[in-house]
Amino acid sequence: MLRVDKATFLYAPERGVEAASLIVDPGEVIGVIGGNGAGKSTLLGLISAALVPQSGSVTLSLSEMGGRTKRFSSSFGIGYRRQVGYLTESAPVYGELSVRRYLSFRARLHGVGVFRLRHRLSDAMERCGLASVWKAPIASLSLGLQRRVALAEALLAVPAVLVLDDPFAGIDATQRAAMTEIIREVAVRSHVFISGHDPLLLQACCTRFVLMERGRVVADALDVKEAMMRLQPEVVQKEARS
């Protein structure tokens, strides 16, 4: 079980995330929705351990990514980070490397041993449909395929927590469907978080929605209709009228 307990991270007053609390069971796919600047990416940053909470904590079973203390050290949260797969909003990759070499590099950083490396790589590439382009330099691939490479990287560590920050941005419907399928497969044993602006895009893979406004979790356990009502009431009303 993953527990976010009053996690706070403020860049400036009223900018960031304040006292966010969530409890997520394995197998759940949480859609984190909200407008621009609502704090979605910051919340996902906290869950992925890219950010360290200023107060509160993020706990996964026994690994805690707790609030900062006076004894903060560089190795803090490494155990937790080993269990996280993270796809950032910009999905950065090293374009000059081939798909296989890039994934191999990232897998090594995640502590995947030499003996498991080959299996993990082929598994991740097969899942993400990259088996045919494994030799190609990443820069030569389309944006959708580059996103898939970033997704494959997030899956390399067989993550207990998979964090996907706006994964469907800039990709077409076909790629989106393929990505949704992958997320569903992974979600069987992981805690998955996906952020986005449109609940309709996320509904195919999310089991529940969390709505964020001005850095706060204002509603939890919403279904897609409730999420739409809260986020885009005009659209729902227009549809009801028509």
Binding site: F9, Y11, T42, G45, S48, A49, A50, L51, V52, R68, F72, S74, S75, I78, G79, R81, R82, V84, Y86, T88, S90, P92, Y94, E96, F105, R106, R108, L109, H110, G111
Partner: protein, 250 residues
């Protein structure tokens, strides 16, 4: 293990980028021109070849180290890779050491190139009647001093790259630090600690290489270089963690 993975990756990326082979070639060309001029002036004087070689190499080294190290974290910041690095289960110090050693390896490549070109110059290009004194010991001492300095410059460049938003500003800041910081720091220390009128040369570390090659090894400078490098690596690790705590990866 992680360190080796990072070193391999960073060095390969450095070589492929505009901060790799091209600057090495340009610096080699400049340093060789300098070496030839030194050799022409040295005719009939008591200069030794290792000292001239060391001096010529020492003037190119800060430029190359500044170029190589300026990529450092600035590149990752520009491509948005920093947030992914924060979420990776790798210690800050490993990132720093990986980047410093990649830049240092490029400097080693440059010194190897200088050694080869010096051999070619002596073997085929220098007139046979020219006599110039050379010893392996002198070369070894000069190379050691240069490698130590390269480490210092790379540490300075990597440290600066943590703060800077563009490679160009990182390059300029680290080059200025490489060239003038030793003189300023040493002069300040002298002013604060002794009452004598000790004058430091403009380029004390380059002069140190020349002295080393002549057999005048100043252990204090060598220890100073090493200590400052270790302190900078440690400080860079702390700054990286501080960036993560403040989330200023952009």
């Amino acid at each position: 293990m992680v360190f080796l993975t990072l070193l391999k990756r960073e060095f390969a990326q450095l070589l492929c980028s505009g901060h790799g082979i091209l600057p090495v070639c340009l610096t080699l060309a400049g340093a060789n021109v300098l070496l030839v001029r030194f050799l022409m002036r040295a005719e009939g004087m008591a200069e030794t070849l290792p000292a001239l070689w060391g001096l010529a190499s020492a003037f190119g080294l800060p430029f190359l180290a500044a170029v190589a190290a300026s990529r450092g974290f600035t590149q990752d910041r520009e491509t948005g890779m920093m947030r992914l690095m924060f979420a990776t289960p790798v210690r800050a110090r490993s990132w720093v050491v990986g980047k410093v050693s990649a830049a240092w390896c490029l400097c080693v490549l440059y010194l190897a190139g200088m050694a080869v070109s010096c051999y070619v110059l002596l073997r085929w290009l220098l007139p046979e009647d020219v006599q110039i004194f050379a010893s392996w010991q002198g070369f070894l001492l000069a190379a050691s001093a240069l490698l130590l300095q390269a480490l210092l410059w790379c540490c300075i460049g990597t440290f600066v790259s943590l703060f800077s938003r563009s490679s160009a500003s990182t390059f300029l800041c680290s080059l200025a630090s490489c060239l003038f910081a030793p003189t300023v720091v040493m002069s300040l220390v002298t002013m604060l600690t002794s009452s004598g009128n000790l004058q430091w040369p403009w380029f004390p570390l380059q002069t140190m290489v020349y002295d080393c090659a002549c057999g005048l090894v100043d252990v204090r400078v060598a220890v100073g270089c090493l200590t400052v490098s270790v302190v900078l690596v440690y400080a860079s690790g702390i700054v990286f963690d501080a960036l993560r705590l403040c989330a200023t990866e952009r």
